[in-house]
């Protein structure tokens, strides 16, 4: 009895020791900043950037809390429009990445075991060169073709940069599939298409989901690619946020945009999780 209790306490202690450091780290550098952002989004901008004080230091000064930023967001279609455009670009990028990655991930997963590590290495090799260099390379390619500074160029850049984030989770999933399941399907009368559509594809849904999240979310916040490859019309949420902080120096407005973006992503993640629960079932 006492022994069991001691064992229990010590195992709980181990659990805390293991979970503790990341927990502290995430609290300090994720949860806390997120809360600061929420608070910042309901404050006034300072006269020279940053935030106005919470309590007025001299008469007439804007101070305290306000929902004005959110009011601005909902009062003009232009913000909703940019949000919609951003989510559209992110969705299109995700779809294109998926369409290009799936065959490749499948190919790697089904190639001889000794070749797989090399192929995976090739997939992540682009990370070895600088992000900006890779994006500028597209300027050199697209410039002469007269395709630069367009929505097309933005999508090309987005897909190019985020492709590995789709390939890797897909490969990790597909590589785990038991090949005997495909033998069984074929044995029971399934042709090539049915073996893919009824066995491989449904079993790979978790991989598709995590790959999509890893592409969709970063694309939403991405500002460098639209700035380098896109025209003025191709600004996305990321550019607006960046501009608020570094351009107009309106921190509360930038914070508000970030919060709205997070809310949008969470809403989509919620819908995806709900849909996934209905579709993937137990794997």
């Amino acid at each position: 009895m006492a022994d069991a209790m001691k064992r229990n306490t010590s195992s709980r202690l181990t659990k805390w020791l293991v979970a503790g450091p990341p927990l502290v780290f995430l609290t300090l550098f994720f949860l806390l900043p997120a809360l600061i952002m929420v608070v910042a989004s309901v404050r006034y901008p300072g006269e020279f950037g940053a935030l106005a004080p919470l309590f007025p230091t001299r008469p007439g000064e804007e101070a305290g809390l306000t929902l004005e930023n959110y009011g601005v967001f909902f009062s003009d279609w232009i913000y909703a429009d940019i949000f919609a455009k951003s989510f559209g670009v992110a969705a299109l990028t995700t779809l294109l990445c998926l369409a290009m990655s799936y065959p490749l991930a499948l190919l790697i997963a089904r190639s001889p075991r000794r070749h797989r590590d090399l192929l995976v290495l090739l997939v992540i090799l682009p990370f070895a060169s600088n992000f900006l260099v890779r994006v500028y390379a597209w300027m050199i390619i697209l410039g002469p073709l007269d395709l630069l500074f367009s929505r097309f160029a933005v999508i090309v850049g987005m897909v190019y940069v985020h492709l590995p984030f789709m390939i890797l989770p897909l490969y990790t999933n597909l590589e785990k599939h038991d090949p005997v399941l495909l033998d069984a399907a074929q044995d029971l009368g399934a042709n090539g298409w049915n073996r893919f559509w009824r066995v491989t594809f449904p079993l790979s849904l978790p991989g598709i989901l995590s790959g999509s999240a890893l592409v969709f979310i970063p694309v939403l916040g991405m500002f460098a690619i639209p700035e380098i490859l896109g025209g003025k019309d191709d600004w996305l949420v990321g550019n607006m946020i960046k501009e608020s902080f570094l351009g107009t120096r309106d921190w509360p407005f930038g914070s508000m945009l970030s919060i709205m973006l997070t809310a949008g992503v969470l809403a989509i993640a919620g819908i995806a999780a709900w849909a996934a629960r209905r579709v993937t079932v137990h794997a």
Binding site: A184, Q186, L188, G189, V281
Partner: protein, 393 residues
């Protein structure tokens, strides 16, 4: 083929002794072509010959077993029948038609894999319905036949469960139902009971034979469990390093093994090197290492001087106390060294005076006593001439 005719004989014998009637009609009037014919099939992996010039004919409605030690080529042969692998030489014919150009999905042959290979993302009902849907059956028929099949394997209440929620025996039954649901011409079973515990295994053996007899579907069953093969099969092909050593009914395999490998692989047996001293039409006189001179039943064309193996099943030997005079010509003296008591019978390991080991099996049938002899007892063993077997190596 001599095998086919002995199959018919055995079927009739089984019908007489056990009252089977199910497959008699089929087997008595033997089809002009066998259901499955494996014709001189060879399969090599590099220099290694996994299946070596194998010829087998399987009749409709038969429970046919491939039995052999690990690595003897059973799975390789099965994969070629299913279409996942191709013979390097020889042909595989179904109903007289060569299967070489038919891919697995178009062969009317289904496989029950050792690991079951159930689709983890489908419910039990969806798994069982899979072959019907692949065959393009209308939805109503799919639902009805899936339900029927689940009833047959007693899993109707698990229709909505996922494979990971099932026990080993239940998974086994789902795999079986899935393989049988659209009534293939042939069901291949690759050690389907290997992963089950002993008690469940016996239960499933019974279900398997009943299912097979009721549905009349031909089974090719792979196992390396000899007793399972003897209990379930109409005929057995005993395989060793890619070759078929003997193809026969269980009683012939056990009672008249063709060579030392088969005798040794199936059941317990005493085996000694020997050579022929003299032959006559009534008996064979052998000189057996460790046993001396021994009489065995006559054997076709073995001239004096032929070397071979003398084999004797433990249950064919009688043990008596040494003090009691043996009555039979073949008898030897020794001492009980060990015994294995398993309830209904006891196997005695006896050290003969010549120094060699000898096993004899005795039924513990006398009421009121658990067994007849104790460690160290001085005994004599004896056996009738016709019990011994002379085997070529």
């Amino acid at each position: 083929m001599t095998h086919s005719s002995s199959f018919v004989d055995a079927k009739q014998k089984r019908t007489d002794t056990r009252g089977y009637t199910g497959t008699l009609a089929i087997s008595r009037f033997r089809a002009p072509v066998p259901l499955l014919e494996i014709r001189r099939v060879t399969r090599r992996f590099g220099d290694f010959v996994a299946v070596d010039d194998v010829s087998i004919a399987v009749e409709p409605g038969e429970f046919f077993t491939l039995l052999g030690p690990s690595g003897c080529g059973k799975t390789t042969l099965l994969r070629m029948i299913a279409g996942f692998d191709m013979p390097d030489e020889g042909q595989i014919l179904l109903d007289g038609k060569d299967l070489a150009d038919t891919p697995p999905e178009r062969r009317p042959v289904h496989t029950v894999f050792q690991s079951y290979a159930l689709f983890p993302h489908m419910t039990v009902a969806q798994n069982v319905a899979f072959p019907l849907r692949m065959a393009g059956r209308p939805a109503q028929e799919v639902a009805r036949r899936t339900q029927e099949e689940l009833d047959i394997v007693h899993l109707s209440d698990k229709a909505g469960a996922y494979p990971h929620e099932l026990s080993g025996g239940q998974k086994q039954r789902v795999a079986l139902a899935r393989g049988l649901v659209n009534r293939p011409r042939l069901l291949l079973l690759d050690e389907p009971l290997g992963a089950l515990d002993a008690k469940l295994r016996v239960e499933m053996q019974l279900e398997l034979t009943m299912l097979q007899k009721n549905l009349g579907i031909t089974f090719i069953f792979v196992t390396h469990a000899q007793y399972e093969a003897l209990a379930l099969s109409d005929r057995i092909a005993v395989m060793n390093s890619g070759r078929v050593e003997q193809l026969d009914t269980p009683d012939h395999i056990y009672g008249s093994p063709r060579n030392r490998f088969v005798a040794d692989f199936i059941g317990k047996i005493n085996l000694y090197n020997c050579s022929v001293i003299a032959t006559s039409s009534e008996s064979l006189r052998l000189s057996v290492a460790g046993l001396g001179e021994v009489w065995a039943p006559p054997h076709a064309d073995v001239p004096a001087g032929t070397a071979g193996t003398f084999a004797l099943r433990p249950e064919h030997a009688r043990i008596v106390p040494r003090s009691q005079n043996p009555l039979m010509k073949n008898h030897l003296f020794g001492r009980v060294r060990e015994f294995f008591y398993v309830g209904d019978v006891t196997t005695y390991v006896i050290d003969l005076d010549s120094g060699v080991r000898f096993q004899a099996l005795l039924a513990n049938s006398a009421p009121g006593r658990a067994k007849f002899f104790e460690l160290g007892d001085e005994v004599a063993v004896e056996w009738p001439n016709e019990a011994g077997m002379f085997l070529s190596r």
